[in-house]
Amino acid sequence: MPVLNVRIDHTGRPMVELYLTMSTTQAEERRQSGDPVPGLVAVNALLDTGAGRSQVSLAILEALGLDPVSDVNVFTASTGDVALMMDVYVVDLASAGDQPGPMAEDLPVIGSSKLSGLKVDMLLGRDVLDRCLLAYDGPNRCFSLAYDQPAVVM
């Protein structure tokens, strides 16, 4: 089981560098039809146990040339009781750094235009974290994240 050491940024948030790319399934379809398959995009992800589903910046999803596959109601702190309808995309997720490797295939994520205020590219939510072991060493201010092989979520 790979273990990532999660860095703490200067505001105390647990951040991890990940790679995103087009889903395995869509990449195969594109290759079959002779269309180019986009490469990887490195993202700074915030580990967020308060997010039920992972979110990715719309700018990154558009850079990968992805189309939405669904939509979902999302409750945010700023909208109170009113849910926002947000589009869902499918990506593949891999760890970066000194232990690169696949983390999830065909992972549905919510496309968000609201992440720039957080200065992150992605919120890594419980849909992924539920498949991982997350340890927080408070006194030493470090996290570690152990994960199993590619997980299909949802």
């Binding site: 089981m1 200067h10 505001t11 790679y19 790319t21 395995t24 399934t25 869509q26 990449a27 195969e28 379809e29 594109r30 079959q32 039809s33 269309d35 398959v37 490469g39 990887l40 915030l46 967020d48 308060g50 997010a51 039920g52 589903r53 979110q55 189309d67 939405p68 596959v69 669904s70 939509d71 979902v72 109601n73 999302v74 409750f75 945010t76 702190a77 700023s78 849910a83 869902v88 499918v90 891999a94 970066a96 232990q99 690169p100 490797g101 696949p102 295939e105 065909d106 549905p108 919510i110 968000s112 609201k114 205020g117 957080l118 200065k119 992150v120 919120l123 939510g125 590619p150 299909v152």
Partner: protein, 140 residues
């Protein structure tokens, strides 16, 4: 464990993928007569002929889900009776499914409808909502 370098080297350089082995069968895209390689669940709601109406392999652009939402709502009551909890895919008014899980719906949706937006829904009486998680702007 970690990255499988042998598998990685087999990938084309232009892809440069650290994802390791990519799973799934390679399937023809464009043959509309090809039977589904991942059979849908048996259902009275499975749609036949009207799927063909949306089966164009030309790139489709995302213009919102107005048509798909309406199509799903019009069939939702029947689907809830016949196949609750399953997944269906809409493109325009055409539906494929139901499927047992999201991944099957996604794969078959791409295979049938080609590249472009899909509208995959789990057949549930109430739409689940997601929590957005972090919302505090970075102070830096």
């Amino acid at each position: 464990m970690g990255l499988n370098l042998k598998k990685r080297r087999r990938r084309p350089a232009s892809i440069g993928h650290p994802m390791g082995k990519r799973q799934g069968k390679v399937r023809p895209v464009s043959n509309l007569e090809t039977p589904m390689s991942e059979p849908a669940l048996p259902s009275t709601a499975t749609i036949g002929p009207d799927v063909g109406a949306a089966l164009t392999l030309k790139p489709r652009t995302h213009l919102g889900y107005t048509t798909e939402r309406a199509a799903y709502q019009s069939r939702k009551a029947d689907l809830l009776r016949s196949d609750p909890g399953t997944f269906v895919v809409f493109v325009g008014e055409a539906m494929a499914g139901p499927f047992a899980d999201f991944r099957s719906a996604y794969r078959e949706g791409l295979r049938r409808f080609g590249q472009g937006p899909l509208y995959i829904k789990q057949v549930l009486a109430e739409e689940p909502a997601a929590e957005s998680g972090a919302s505090e702007p970075c102070r830096s």
